[in-house]
């Protein structure tokens, strides 16, 4: 892991080992719930989440990437760590997602500023290392630009659908793509959000701590604002409906979800041409690629093997299952509605 200075931890708190940080500073979580002097930090943490839930970026106490006051620095880190504790205690995934996204935007600004920093070489090096360590993108400085290998560029740029991100609209030379600091950071935005999200999701959930109950219950009610209602009737099983919903909203459905949906509909006798339009709203839609992939699954091209719809068990492990009582007794979404519950 990277060795971080105090400034860096404040800018990129998600890189810190939370437990270790608290220990080093000589605090326990319980103290934040009880010590009246520390309690304000919980409010700060709550604010940080609330701002993120609103789709805004939390305005930090850091000014121009310098810590304004000595004391501001730990506060900055604590409020981040406490926000995670609150989120874990509330168990609200919609909030975690929004929070991760907002924190990614915040870190993005610092990364960009550090990359563009001409006076402080070490700051630039750290930003370059963060990008390499976290996203395996090797950035090199060349004149006023940052250059990255074409293959690394493509792995990230295919997530964008704006034409300016197409490789053809980029300065390509010697196997590298030339980018400004802003573009370099923008390229990994999605992964930065995913990274922070997975760090939070994978963090251990502590026992409820006294003094944390109130903000946690406030978070639970806050998250209701973002809940989507799930329809539970109709001929398709909930996993399939959910996938269709996600696509219709133009949100990103992971590869495993697309695989499930496509194989399910193909097995139901739909054609590649009927299924393809479903993916039109996906953020990374590309007609040629979609048709290629569907034909591949349908076995009409290449291998000739038709892929089958994954089992419920498999889908559960991929978090694609949204079982309802009608799902009892079935092992594959294709059986949904066929076997009756006795």
């Amino acid at each position: 892991m990277l060795a971080l200075g105090p400034d860096e931890i404040a800018k990129y708190p998600f890189l810190a080992d939370a437990g270790q940080y608290l220990k080093d500073k000589g605090f326990t979580l319980e103290q934040f719930g009880t010590d009246p002097d520390l309690k304000s930090l919980i409010d700060k943490a709550f604010d940080r989440i609330e701002v993120a839930a609103d789709g805004k970026v939390y305005k930090s106490d850091l000014i121009a990437d310098q810590v304004s006051k000595e004391a501001a620095l730990p506060r900055e880190v604590f409020s981040f760590l406490l926000a995670i504790v609150l989120l874990k205690l509330s168990g609200m995934h919609t909030l975690i997602k929004r929070f991760a996204l907002a924190e990614a935007r915040r870190a993005e600004k610092y990364l960009e500023r550090d990359l563009a920093n001409i006076s402080d070489e070490s700051k630039k090096q750290l930003a370059i290392r963060v990008i390499d360590d976290l996203f395996s993108v090797q950035v090199k400085k060349q004149d006023d630009y940052f250059v990255i290998p074409v293959s690394d560029y493509l792995k990230h740029s295919i997530n964008f659908h704006e034409r300016e991100w197409k490789l053809i609209n980029r300065h390509v030379e010697n196997g590298h793509v030339f980018l400004t600091p802003h573009e370099t950071v923008r390229l990994i935005r999605k992964e930065l959000g995913t990274y922070i999200n997975s760090k939070i999701v994978n963090a251990k959930t502590p026992q409820m701590i006294s003094g944390f109950e109130e903000p946690v219950s406030k978070l639970v009610s806050l998250s209701k604002k973002f809940a989507t209602s799930v329809v539970t009737t109709g001929e398709y099983p909930p996993c399939i409906k959910h996938a269709i919903d996600v696509l219709e909203k133009g949100e990103n459905l992971p590869h495993s979800g697309r695989f499930m949906l496509a194989t399910f509909l193909l097995s139901k006798g739909q054609t590649v041409e009927q299924i393809a339009p479903l993916f039109k709203n996906a953020p990374d839609y590309n007609e040629r690629v979609t048709l290629y992939q569907l034909n591949h699954l349908a076995g009409t091209s290449g291998s000739g093997t038709q892929y089958s719809c994954p089992s419920c068990e498999k889908l559960k492990t991929q978090s694609l299952c949204f079982a309802i009582p009608e799902c009892d007794n079935i092992t594959n979404p294709l059986q949904f509605g066929k076997k009756r519950v006795q």
Binding site: L154, L167, V172, R288, S301, T305, Y307
Partner: protein, 373 residues
């Protein structure tokens, strides 16, 4: 195709694989590749794994395939069904085919075989004998076709080397055995890319999806200095050479471009796609599970060999890719256009019995323009 024709083709192919096995280039990491083959009048057999070239030789002699294929991908288990193979990586491949180049010469050497009455003609829409519109088109590519394909190959190699920094030694160019070229790129930074990324690479090479801003043109207040310079690298450089023509005309032409405006610039770019984009088949490049004709094997569309081109500009497929023997055979030929093989002219033949070297007989029978008597 009738029994006798198949027997004749199989005998000729078998002799080739016996005498010229050294032409075959078994790819590196043989045991990680998927092989497949077709026999005359049969479907495809896939998901075969082979240890080495000995096993390949055995397969060829035992099956006498009409066509042999090998994956550009490497797998942990090449013989398992596709979703269990465990894909590791794939060489980058490109297909350049004369039929995709919209050449004027095509009409002169495309023959129609009526699927109703088997009549051969140069008619494009309708069989002159029975008026059926069900025509199977067979092309006997000419040197113009080959020359234009070579130009595309040269453009492609230039981009691969200049823009993508690929070592020339890792680019292998093959004549496809019919009317195009297959280009392989080994050991590049692109080995582990998926199909979406490869599709993007293909668009780059095709000069597709380009926006005016990339070449300095803006909707409002375009700035002269953001237009490409003559000496620039990549597409901006190639743009300059094509659009300005010479360094001295740069300034004048930029003024014209700005006066003509944004949407006119867009159509200029579309025209450029046709002229300077490399006409590769994007579907081949993005397919990471494909099995691709094996280098050195025979192409059943022609009986010619998929041949490595050491110097593509000098390469003459109708001499260097024809390996079948000269033994004279008697055939019934119905081939309305002439063609050239091994420096000899053949045809046109109007439903006549002729005696002719094996290589030329195979060529016509493969194109369904002759049968053995």
């Amino acid at each position: 195709m009738n029994e006798n024709d198949i027997k004749f083709l199989e005998d000729s192919f078998k002799k080739y694989y016996f005498d010229h096995f050294d032409q075959i280039r078994v790819p590196d990491r043989t045991s990680e590749r998927e092989f497949g083959f077709q026999k005359f009048n049969y479907g495809m057999t896939r998901h075969i794994s082979l240890k080495d070239d000995k096993e390949l030789h055995l397969l060829l002699m035992k099956n006498i395939p009409s066509d042999v294929y090998c994956s550009n991908a490497c797998y942990s288990f090449p013989n398992l069904p596709m979703n269990e193979k465990d894909w590791k990586e794939a060489d980058l491949i490109f297909d350049i085919d004369a039929k995709d180049l919209n050449l004027d010469c095509r009409i002169n050497h495309t023959v129609s075989v009526c699927t109703e009455c088997n009549t051969t003609s140069t008619a494009q829409k309708q069989c002159p004998k029975c008026n059926s519109t069900k025509l199977e088109k067979k092309s006997l590519p000419c040197t113009n076709c080959i020359d234009h394909s070579k130009m595309e190959v040269k453009k492609l190699v230039e981009i691969l080397v200049d823009d993508f920094a690929i070592d020339k030694n890792n680019i292998h160019i093959y004549f496809s055995g019919n009317e195009g070229f297959h280009i392989y790129v080994y050991d590049s930074q692109f080995q582990d890319l998926g199909s979406r990324e490869r599709s993007e690479l293909a668009d780059y090479i095709l000069f597709k999806g380009v926006i005016p801003e990339t070449f300095g043109m803006k909707k409002f207040k375009p700035n002269r200095s953001s237009f490409p310079d003559f000496a620039e690298k990549g597409w901006r450089g190639r743009f300059s050479q094509e659009v300005y023509g010479s360094k001295s005309k740069r300034s004048k032409i930029i003024s014209e471009l700005i006066t003509d405006g944004y949407s006119s610039f867009q159509s200029t770019l579309e025209g450029l796609t046709e002229r300077i984009g490399v006409k590769i088949d994007p579907n081949v490049t993005m397919d990471i599970h494909r099995i691709f004709r094996l280098p050195g094997s025979l192409n059943s569309k022609s009986g010619l060999t998929k041949t490595l081109c050491k110097d593509v500009s000098k390469f003459n497929p109708y001499i260097e890719a024809s390996f079948l023997d000269d033994k004279i055979v008697e055939i019934m030929a119905d081939c309305p256009v002439e063609f050239k093989l091994k420096n000899k002219k053949f045809g046109p033949y109007k439903a006549e019995k002729i005696t002719i070297p094996t290589y030329a007989a195979v060529y016509m029978i493969c194109k369904k323009l002759a049968t053995i008597t």
